[in-house]
């Protein structure tokens, strides 16, 4: 029967070759199908090209903070010239305009177990609250106020994902970078004679920290830091004009996170910075601010373009 099968196959092939209009027919069969001769992606929705993408709102949370965390709520708007390139602005307020505080566990521990001595009373006049004078260590912690940035957005990757082979969403991956302004409230500077209130003993019977020194703990100074921002994100598109953004954003700039005296004096061979009995800019150190953002995407005009 094998011989019969071979004969039939040969006959079929000969018949096809003899009668087929052109030898290309076999090749056509090989590439026949919905994807034959088509580009990598056909009729792809371009969610960004010539459109404005608004993130209303973005909600973020800062990561790896030493003493205070920030819930960042804001807006983002990006204008895209092509499907992979655009410019935009981002702005966010921390803790709804610093209306509340989020302390880390370390701040709580310092407040509960920290100790003030003569050698550190400038750095921390009091760990805990003193009625009418200070709220304790949490009062001197630096807190982020907000962030504003310009950004160049580059979205090189466009695709779709399947969830349990049952739900499909279009998605793209993007990176961004640009200049930024970071707004931060820090403990006010204490230099020269102002610092002396925390370096000298109060009158006998009043402990080791004077009331004037305690009052300095809650004195604040707002500052604007010039910095840059960068990050990456993933957009999920539920339809042509609504989606969700998941974004990682970093905006490093120097701050004095604890409002303490950490540097300014010569090191004299020490491996760490030495305090100079002043609270000032020298006490700032590199701080890698970063956060995770979620945002609701609204894209205008509402109709996405299609590629050929």
């Amino acid at each position: 029967m094998t011989t019969l099968r071979l004969l039939l196959l040969a006959a079929a092939c000969l018949s096809a070759i003899a009668v087929a209009p052109a030898p290309a027919a076999a090749q056509e069969i090989q590439i026949t199908g919905p994807l034959a001769g088509q580009p990598a992606v056909r009729r792809m929705r371009q969610y960004r090209a010539n459109r404005i993408q608004l993130l209303l709102p973005t909600v973020g949370y800062t990561l790896q903070d030493q003493y205070s965390r920030s819930l960042m709520t804001g807006l983002e708007a990006n204008v895209h010239f092509t499907d992979y390139l655009g410019i935009g602005v981002f702005g966010a307020l921390a803790n709804f305009g610093a209306n509340f505080r989020i302390n880390t566990d370390l701040t709580a521990q310092v407040r509960q177990n920290g100790q003030t001595t003569r050698s550190n009373r400038l750095s921390m006049p009091s760990p805990d609250a003193v009625e009418g004078l200070t709220g304790g260590f949490p009062d001197q912690v630096a807190r982020l106020q907000g962030l504003v940035s310009l950004q160049l957005v580059f979205a090189p990757l466009r695709g779709k994902l399947s969830l349990f082979q049952g739900a499909f969403v279009d998605t793209d991956f993007y990176i961004f970078a640009g200049p930024a302004l970071g707004f931060v409230a820090e403990r006010a500077n204490l230099v020269g004679e102002d610092a002396e209130v925390c370096l000298t003993d109060p009158p006998p019977g009043e402990g080791i920290v004077s009331d004037d020194c305690l009052l300095t703990q809650a004195q604040r100074k707002n500052r604007v830091a010039f910095t840059g921002t960068f990050g990456l994100g993933l957009n999920l598109y539920f339809n042509d004009f609504i989606g969700m953004a998941i974004q990682y954003r970093a905006f490093p700039f120097a701050i004095n996170p604890g409002g303490t005296d950490e540097a300014g004096a010569p090191r004299n061979g020490a491996t760490v910075s030495q305090p100079d009995n002043q609270i000032d800019g020298a006490d700032r150190r590199f701080y890698y601010h970063h956060m995770i953002n979620l945002g609701l995407i609204i894209t205008l005009p509402p109709q996405a373009n299609l590629t050929q």
Partner: protein
């Protein structure tokens, strides 16, 4: 070869002949042809596939619509497609394979959102070297090298193990010193030697990305979780002159998510965030007086502390064997 096989081959031969021959004629416009057993002569009958032209009436034109194909075998291709599809079909019904003349049908060529997995995982072994660092340990920089091994027993489920080596790669940050100096607060910290964990991996998400509409690559996202051990010890910071600690083993649980991007069918890069959770025995904050200070029983806290080490893994995965057989669904 059975009779059915013989019939199939005969049908293939007949279809090859029938399909390739008249094919060019189908494309001709206004072709006046009659295939009836007897020419009806009815006016207006451009083409008549009926056994008798009279039975069909005089207005039967060529009909390539679905309705026109009514009664034809569902899913039966014609022409060149039929030949090659039938040649490739190992088994199938042939009893009703009667040549009823040229037919057309709408071929269901459904495009699935993710039509074909780029790299099958089932029955493959995945070797996973990576570097790991902690996201939530401000006092100790927990860097590790890691090696993992997965066996995929389905395309979306794997069982595996990983091993992380920390000793010699960790370093204490300045923060602990600065906090001690400024607030007189000593924060008990610990160090890791190694961790090893059994885990399951599940892939609920997969998809593909196009880069500049030129290149396409595949990716998937997974969740991973399991149980293992973590070998740790406290770093003496409260009373370092007296206290020393030995390594001890803790039971640890882990849970994480990751994303894997395939560079080839056997090589991918991946990023993963995994939380290793366990109960840690921390150094006691109080120093006992007298001889009790030298009693190791007083060196640790009374109750263990829940410790969470959120770790980022970045690395490569290698799938073995490199090749795999993919069976196309029909």
């Amino acid at each position: 070869m059975t009779r059915a096989d013989i019939a199939r081959w005969a049908l293939a031969l007949a279809l090859a002949t029938a399909a390739t021959g008249p094919a060019s004629a189908w494309a001709q416009d206004d072709a006046d042809m009659v295939f009836g057993e007897e020419e009806s002569g009815d006016e207006g009958a451009d083409m008549d596939f009926a056994g008798a032209g009279d039975d069909t009436g005089g207005d039967t034109d060529m009909d390539f619509t679905d309705e026109g194909a009514a009664g034809a075998e569902e899913g039966a291709p014609t022409g060149d497609d039929a030949l090659f599809e039938d040649l490739a079909t190992p088994e199938g019904p042939v009893e009703d394979a009667v040549d009823e003349g040229p037919r057309r049908r709408v071929v269901d060529e459904t495009i699935f959102a993710v039509q074909r997995l780029y790299a099958l995982r089932i029955n493959r072994v995945e070797l996973i070297p990576s570097v790991a660092f902690s996201l939530n340990a401000p006092f100790v920089s927990r860097t590790a090298v890691s090696l993992g091994l997965n066996y995929w027993f389905t395309n979306v489920l794997a069982i595996g193990a990983n091993f992380l080596w920390y000793d010699g790669l960790e370093s204490e940050t300045n923060l602990n010193f600065l906090v001690r100096r400024s607030t007189r607060l000593a924060v008990p910290i610990n160090e890791y030697q190694f961790g090893t964990h059994l885990n399951f991996t599940y892939v609920p998400l997969y998809g593909k990305f196009a880069a500049f509409n030129e290149f396409i690559f595949q990716w998937d996202a997974y969740v991973v979780g399991g149980v293992g051990i973590q070998r740790t010890r406290p770093i003496p910071v409260i009373d370092p002159e007296v206290r020393t600690f030995d390594w001890s083993v803790r039971v640890a649980f882990n849970l994480g998510v990751g994303i894997r991007v395939f560079l080839t069918r056997w090589l991918s890069i991946f990023g993963e965030i995994r939380n290793y959770m366990y109960l840690e025995q921390l150094e006691a904050l109080d120093v006992a007086l007298g001889q009790d200070r030298f009693d190791p029983e007083t060196w640790t806290q009374d109750s263990p502390a829940f410790t969470s080490n959120v770790t980022v893994h970045l690395g490569l995965t290698f799938f073995f064997p490199f090749e795999f057989e993919y069976r196309l669904p029909r």
